[in-house]
């Protein structure tokens, strides 16, 4: 492939980001397309962008990421960082239990996960200091500080850009999936624009049929699908009036891809009736549990990034009732996912990343109207990582006696994310396509002092 051709393709990518309003020629003239890289035409998202070559002799350990996004911010004190000796106003009613790793304890409501502790590492010293949902969600998922005039794309958008079609992924299923809804108040795509957003499945995988919006329809036979597609084409009078129009051709290309998915077999990845009932039960017949199972099926087929958007962790009020209700659901799904990935030999190549935008206040608000609530807390919180080259059975860092401060080994979002990128073979200095042609890289070039504790070399 000649350099010229590649440059043209890069120009396409950037022209796309401009809503197609800038010609490729104009882009080239303005020098916005200087980055070389292999590209594959695709309507799915921002097109595949040049994947940075790995240093010689190195291969990426991780191929995919499953992100369990705990929207709202789960309490570290009630999940993976319990402080039984901190008193009633901090510890609350939940007790720790031992795990299958000596000396590591987690919450009693996570008994299945306790049996899997050798597979994951708990990071008890996550910090960024922000306690607003949107800003914190941005910081945790982009490794960037807010307010510098740019809105960076999330880890998912970056990974699916570098590990998707440019890295040889050929599936019809888009390379970045979220179950079941977008994060909503978080852009995911940043300056890459709406086309870099994940494909949101909609629907509910715990229903008898997982109706994935657009892919799996209800009540329309395959024959009717085919008939009405033909009907639509016969009625497309505007297309017929302007044959060869490039915009309509681009739309037709997208339509073809859509029908490949609607009528082809690729959508069967969402058909959970292909799984054994026993396994489905182990995951838990809940929305979250079954989403974990779908996530495994997706990475099995090479999808590089899957987010499970698990909502409901913003427990200002009645935190402990919420834990009683939600932790068993988390426990079954997450634990079975780890075991199932391991059983199928997928855990070595799949990073599982658990966490939310922050933790929750260690001191419990017992008073009305909170009645045992915990509020936002960005100073210290917990994330969990497993697989894809991360060692299990470790604990990184620690929080202070009452879970209020980082005690040892702070881990900032950039530390965690740069570690994942290293395992995925993504060069943090790789250029990202930018609509105004700015020189921006996958990760901040040199994190300022006091904003990094270093990569997670302990477990890599």
């Amino acid at each position: 492939m000649s350099i010229k051709f590649t440059q043209d393709k890069v120009a396409d990518v950037i022209a796309d980001m401009h809503g197609g309003r800038i010609s490729r020629r104009e882009m080239l003239r303005r020098g916005l397309a200087g980055t070389a890289g292999l590209l594959m035409a695709d309507c799915w998202s921002v097109r595949a962008f040049g994947a940075p070559a790995l240093p010689k002799g190195k291969t990426a350990k991780a191929k995919s990421v499953i992100q369990i996004w705990m929207w709202g911010g789960p309490s570290h004190m009630d999940t993976f960082d319990l402080k039984p000796d901190s008193g009633q106003d901090y510890a609350g009613p939940l007790k720790p239990i031992p795990t299958n790793v000596d000396g590591v304890q987690i919450c009693e409501l996570l008994p299945q996960l306790a049996k899997q502790a050798d597979k994951y590492t708990i990071i008890r010293s996550m910090t960024h200091g922000n306690s607003g949902h949107e800003t914190a969600a941005y910081m945790v998922q982009t490794a960037r500080k807010p307010g510098d005039g740019q809105v960076y794309p999330s880890v998912g958008a970056v990974v699916s850009l570098f590990k998707g079609y440019s890295a040889g992924y050929k599936g019809l299923i888009p390379p970045y999936i979220v179950m079941t809804q977008l994060q909503g108040r978080f852009s995911e795509a940043g300056f890459l624009g709406s086309r870099a957003k994940p494909f949101a499945t909609g629907g509910d995988p715990s229903q008898s049929k997982f109706v994935v919006e657009g892919v799996v329809a209800q009540g329309i036979s395959e024959e009717r699908q085919k008939n009405r597609r033909e009907f639509l084409h016969k009625l497309n009078t505007l297309d017929m009036a302007m044959p060869g129009n490039d915009r309509l051709a681009a739309a037709a290309q997208c339509e073809k891809q859509a029908y490949d998915l609607i009528l082809g077999d690729a959508g069967k990845v969402f058909d959970l009736s292909q799984e054994k009932d026993e396994l489905r039960d182990r995951y838990g017949k809940t929305k979250f549990g079954q989403a974990c199972l779908v996530a495994r099926r997706l990475v099995e087929r090479g999808v590089p990034y899957v987010t499970i958007n698990f909502e409901g962790w913003d427990t200002h009020k009645g935190n402990f009732q919420a834990m009683q209700r939600k932790l068993p659901e988390l426990d079954k799904g997450f634990a079975t996912l780890l075991q199932d990935l391991a059983d199928r030999g997928l855990l070595d190549s799949t990073i599982v990343w658990w966490g939310g935008e922050f933790g929750r206040t260690p001191k419990i608000a017992w008073e009305a109207p909170w009645n045992g609530g915990r509020h936002h807390y960005g100073k210290v919180f917990t994330h969990v990582v497993a697989g894809g080259g991360f060692k299990g059975g470790h604990v990184i860092g620690s929080s202070s006696e009452k879970g209020e401060e980082v005690k040892e080994r702070p881990v900032y979002p950039v530390d965690l994310i740069s570690s994942m990128y290293e395992l995925l073979g993504i060069d943090g200095a790789a250029k990202l396509p930018h609509p105004q042609g700015l020189d921006v890289t996958a990760l901040p070039s040199t994190p300022a002092a006091g904003t990094t504790g270093g990569k997670l070399t302990e477990i890599m």
Binding site: I22, S131, G132, N227
Partner: protein, 578 residues
């Protein structure tokens, strides 16, 4: 609905040949002669002639009615509105329609949406206006458009007002930035009102302009998230704050230390206008006012050029200088005469943007068909035809809702108090781009992070196609449509409910229904006509009628009618402005 349907069946049977000019192969073009009608046309056609590019034909009435509704009020004409326009014999009906539409409420809604993109009306990260302030800002913009505030006044208000972000909506211009330091503000002003990217300027030029914004102060009040924006002569430096939201109940984060000037005496301002002239600012005078007066002066070429060029691009997709918000000396206008004419008209018309709209929309250039006659690669950039553009996200979902008689539910769960939007509210009138909606995101609603025009994407994607073709969201809208039910039933030949017996009608004796009602063939034709008028704002062609009739032969008639509605909303003709 039923009564309307039946009377329509008996009353009219017009379609195909009756309204489409017979000589034309497409329903998109008309026979009207192409000859420059206005100064705009003279400038455009002269340049086309020089480039040897043949312009497209004038668009048909059916195309025009749909186009001008979408372009002026972001709203699809109803079947009734489309039909009335098509049957109107007045030769001046096009310009009359333009005038009528500019007086509608949706005009203010739609243009407030457009301005909302540029003015960055967003409650949450990274703009962080906060819901109350976003709503106040939006309300001010909408009201200003509704009363047709002259453009120079509109801008001056935003640049010079003082007051509460919750009460004086326009002060939020200075808050709607990712950080409130003076250079960021200067860049936002340059981009929005001068159409230029100040980050590419020489450093001194930007620093000189930034001085005008160095005395803006932001003060908290007792009300949660309320802020007073005001001129503070004693202010010494603008902190580059991070604009971070803080949670109500979070423990206090270490506050950024106030950087007080070393001495208490404010340094003299070294403000310089972007054209290099140093500004003389009397002590105690608000430098923003000095800047605003310089900016909106009719002699300032930046001010008028920016807005006329943008307005042109809003209707014809490309700016005369393109991109419209990247004006710089080495980015030449494609048609300097046209640009100069519009600039002159802006000033002559006392900055009345409706005057500018009228000039453009009444031109033949705007009324060209989208079906090209020239294959020249320069054709599009020289306005040889109307550009094909996908409907904006908000306009598209509103159109689908109008067709089907359904609504969308919007709410904003973070932060408290939650924002709920009444179900019958149009999407074009949503005040805030933080309102969660996967549909709007999928179809390219801008995030309003930067105020750049290119944030709004009209590119087609596979997920959009999947959603339109096969999602339960769209499927439900069509199949359960309260508005289309009668048509679907009529197509299936189901016996429509007989009219109420005479005895129930007040005072009027009505003859019993005539047994020789419309035949099922006539009924079917009327269903097809209605669906075409409702969705595509035109009557079907002979060919289309034939295709549909064939499709309806086999299988369930109701299903076939549903499929017709489905096919029409999935056609390029529906999804695109054309």
């Amino acid at each position: 609905m039923k009564t309307f349907l039946i009377s329509a069946v008996i009353g009219v049977a017009v379609w195909g040949g009756a309204t489409t000019p017979s000589a034309k192969a497409t329903p998109f073009e008309s026979d009207a002669a192409l000859s420059p009608q206005t100064k705009i046309d003279e400038a455009v056609f002269a340049s086309l002639k020089k480039l040897n590019i043949e312009p497209a034909s004038i668009c048909s009435d059916a195309v025009f009615v749909r186009r001008v509704f979408l372009d002026l009020i972001g709203t699809l004409p109803t079947a009734k509105e489309a039909k009335e326009f098509l049957e109107d014999k007045d030769p001046k009906k096009r310009s009359a329609l333009i005038d009528r539409l500019m007086e509608r409420d949706e005009f203010a809604d739609y243009w407030a949406m457009k301005w909302g993109d540029l003015l960055r009306i967003r409650a949450e990260f990274p703009i962080n206006l906060w819901p109350n302030a976003a709503q106040a800002y939006h309300r001010w913009v909408r009201d200003s458009l509704r009363e047709n505030m002259p453009y120079d006044k509109f801008v001056r208000e935003m640049l010079t007002s003082n007051g509460s972000n919750f009460r004086v909506g326009q002060v939020n211009f200075y808050r709607a930035v990712q950080s409130k330091d003076q250079e960021t503000i200067a860049k936002a002003v340059a981009l929005t009102f001068m159409g230029t990217r100040a980050e590419n300027w020489p450093k001194e030029q930007l620093a000189g302009m930034a001085q005008f914004f160095s005395k803006i102060a932001f003060k908290q009040t007792g009300e949660w998230k309320e802020e007073i924006i005001f001129f503070d002569p004693a202010k010494t430096a603008t902190l580059a704050t991070n604009n971070l939201e803080q949670a109500t109940t979070a423990p206090a984060e270490p506050a950024e230390k106030k950087k007080k000037g070393e001495g208490s005496k404010p340094a003299k301002l070294a403000a310089t206008f972007p054209d290099g002239t140093p500004a003389k600012i009397a002590e105690g005078r608000d430098p923003r006012v000095v800047f605003a007066d310089w900016l909106i002066s009719p002699k300032n070429p930046w001010f008028g050029r920016n807005i006329v060029n943008r307005v042109w691009s809003w209707f014809l997709e490309r700016g005369i200088i393109h991109e419209p918000d990247d004006i710089r000396p080495d980015n030449k206008p494609v048609n300097p005469e046209l640009l100069a004419y519009l600039e002159k008209e802006l000033v002559a018309g006392k900055y009345d943007l409706k005057h500018l709209f009228r000039l453009i929309l009444n031109s033949q250039t705007y009324q060209l068909s989208s079906v090209p006659k020239s294959k020249s690669p320069e054709a599009e950039a020289n306005f040889a035809r109307y550009p094909l553009r996908r409907l904006e996200a908000e306009v598209l979902i509103d159109a689908l809702n109008q067709i089907t008689g359904t609504t969308e539910k919007y709410s904003s769960p973070v932060p408290e108090p939650f924002t709920f939007i009444p179900e019958d509210q149009r999407s074009i009138s949503l005040p805030d781009s933080s309102i969660t909606s996967s549909f709007l995101e999928m179809f390219g609603r801008p995030s309003r992070d930067t105020g750049l025009e290119l944030e709004r994407s009209s590119k087609p994607t596979t997920d959009q196609r999947l959603h339109m073709l096969n999602s339960s969201h769209i499927q439900r809208k069509i199949e359960n449509s309260p508005k289309l039910q009668a048509l679907f039933s009529a197509a299936s030949g189901a016996v429509s409910k007989p009219p109420k017996p005479a005895k129930f009608r007040k005072g009027v004796k009505v003859a019993p229904p005539v047994s020789t009602g419309p035949t099922s063939e006539q009924k079917k034709a009327e269903v097809i006509n209605q669906l075409y008028l409702t969705i595509l704002s035109r009557f079907p062609t002979e060919q289309e009628l034939k295709t549909v009739a064939e499709y309806m032969q086999a299988g369930s008639k109701r299903e076939a009618a549903v499929d017709l509605a489905w096919a029409l909303v999935n056609s390029a003709e529906f999804l695109y402005r054309h």
